[in-house]
């Protein structure tokens, strides 16, 4: 575990390197522990990839060295309590193809698979949320099968509907809201990935596991 400053108002606790998946539940446990028993002056805690970033208000933390020492103690304690932290799996229903997935045929052509094979590979895989970022509620998902890795579109769309499920290179993800985007769209979910009225506002959190499930257009339309 290493602590390093991120400017003069945040610090990064590295619990592993790169995309080390074993660091994710440790980061989540530390973030949960800090939410449960806050440290004075800590204003935000962000588990992401193999790190936890802690934002602080320098006027309310005592000294920076004290904050670092306290965080190291907390991180070790959270590690020791890790076995009691349950993993969460979130199922995301997706209506693949048709108007919702205008690029599905293109992905099949580029990967030399049938449309049905692309869809089965996509919902058959287990995904891990490495971080939420880029936009509110957007999950960086790991676990897309290599067979359906597909380069981004050469011309991004100016407007991608909310809930669109896309593939961009080695990544897959769900657009939480209408944005421009360059990923290949293969389907759409009726779930809201981000809603400021909810607590927490994002459907997914770092370290969550995700499974996609294929639904029909009728099921999509009937979704409440």
């Amino acid at each position: 575990m290493t602590l390093s400053p991120l400017g003069d108002s945040a610090l990064v606790i590295a619990l592993g390197s790169g995309l080390d998946p074993s660091a994710l539940p440790r980061g989540r446990a530390l973030a949960a522990a800090l939410a449960h028993d806050p440290i004075a002056g800590v204003v935000d805690v962000v588990p992401a990839f193999a790190t936890v970033t802690v934002f602080y208000d320098i006027a309310h933390i005592g000294t920076y060295a004290q904050l670092c020492a306290e965080l190291e103690t907390r991180a070790q304690r959270a590690d020791a309590a890790l076995l009691s932290v349950a993993t969460r799996t979130v199922e995301i229903p997706v209506c693949y193809g048709g108007d919702f997935g205008p690029d599905l045929a293109e992905v099949a052509a580029r990967t030399a698979l049938t449309v049905a094979e692309v869809v089965a590979l996509h919902y058959g895989a287990d995904y891990l949320v490495h971080a939420i970022g880029f936009a509110p509620g957007f999950a960086y998902l790991g676990g897309l099968p290599e067979k359906i890795h597909t380069p981004r579109r050469s011309t991004p769309r100016t407007s991608v509907p909310a809930g669109s499920v896309g593939i961009g290179g080695a990544q897959t993800g769900v657009y939480p809201r209408v944005t421009p985007g360059g990923w290949n769209l293969i389907g759409r979910t009726p779930l809201k990935l981000f809603d400021p009225a909810n607590t927490p506002p994002a459907l997914l959190g770092a370290a969550d596991r995700v499974k996609f499930r294929a639904i029909t257009a009728e099921e999509f339309a009937a979704w409440k």
Binding site: G7, T53, F55
Partner: protein, 307 residues
């Protein structure tokens, strides 16, 4: 009372000190680009520092107030009102701001604060996420904002101690602490001035200057960023991330502008220049604490100045 927006100006938004506590859900900070201007403007009309105010950008709005109130503008000079002092506005009074004469942005505080619904604990407008403030967007001609009906007046003649104000300049030297990839870039960033480009916005101030070459090759895993982070994309032209920056970025981080100097960056407009100077983290913290003490003294001094 109502504040009618006759002309919205170039980019006029409702801002407070930002949306803290939801970065784990990917929610950016947003809030005033120049938080010191916002805090002082609010203190000057007897508000809490975090009250919602208008942020003006380069070309100000034309406003009409339905009732008498107290306002204060801080940051850049947009004409119409004197900077850094409370000004009484009569019922039916109009204020027509012009183009910025100094700086890029200003905060206009109104006694009682602007009344918009908080979203995730903040009244600030996040333009990119279309969240908060006035319907998640910049104000348009014809919008009508609300503020509390309250009669508040400042007593006597006084002016604030200008030593608390940021040292705004069109060519500032901005202090930075090291970023995670500073070692891959060398000291080129400290050798020259950089020019602010017109592509700058509330997400980031984009700079043009000598190409900053990176020794370390290869892609980085994305990681958290914060307002003030200086990123270097592959073209070698640094970007200072600002209030609306996303919470996670993928470019190497060469440095971070220290908290007390962020207002200097916020007030730069296209064509202005800046230089970077390295400081140690402990110095950045001391400067931030000194700024907080000065603002606390200002706050205490102003409390007795209103009735």
């Amino acid at each position: 009372m109502e504040i009618k927006i006759h002309r919205a100006g170039l980019l006029t938004t409702v801002q407070d000190l930002g949306r803290t506590g939801h970065r784990a859900a990917g929610v950016p900070l947003a809030g005033a680009m120049d938080p010191v201007a916002l805090r002082i403007a609010n203190l000057l009309v007897g508000n809490a520092e975090n009250a919602a105010a208008l942020e003006l950008t380069l070309l100000g709005p034309e406003l009409e107030f339905s009732a008498a109130t107290l306002v204060a503008i801080a940051g850049g000079d947009f004409g119409a009102l004197p900077l850094w002092q409370p000004v009484r506005v009569r019922a039916g009074g109009r204020i027509k701001f012009g183009a910025a004469r100094t700086g890029c942005r200003a905060c206009l505080a109104v006694a009682g604060g602007l009344e918009v619904a908080p979203v995730l604990g903040s009244r600030s407008t996040d333009l990119r996420a279309t969240l908060g403030g006035w319907d998640g967007r910049a104000l348009r001609d014809g919008d009508t904002l609300r503020a509390p009906d309250l009669v508040r007046e400042s007593i006597g003649h006084w002016h604030i101690d200008e030593r608390v104000l940021p040292a705004y300049s069109r060519a500032p030297t901005v202090r930075v602490v090291r970023g995670a990839q500073a070692g891959e870039f060398g000291d080129e960033i400290f050798a020259s001035a950089f020019k602010v480009t017109p592509q700058s916005d509330r997400m980031g101030v984009r700079l043009a200057g000598p190409v900053l070459g990176r020794a370390g090759a290869g892609d980085l895993v994305s990681s958290t960023v914060v307002p003030g982070t200086v990123q270097v994309p592959p073209d070698g032209q640094p970007i200072v991330l600002m209030a609306d920056a996303q919470t996670i970025g993928g470019y190497p981080k060469i440095a971070h502008v220290i908290t007390v100097d962020l207002p200097l960056v916020a007030q730069l407009r296209p064509g202005d220049t800046l230089r970077f100077r390295p400081v140690m983290l402990a110095e950045a913290h001391e400067l931030a604490l000194a700024r907080e003490r000065a603002l606390a003294i200002l706050h205490e001094g102003l409390v007795q100045k209103f009735r």
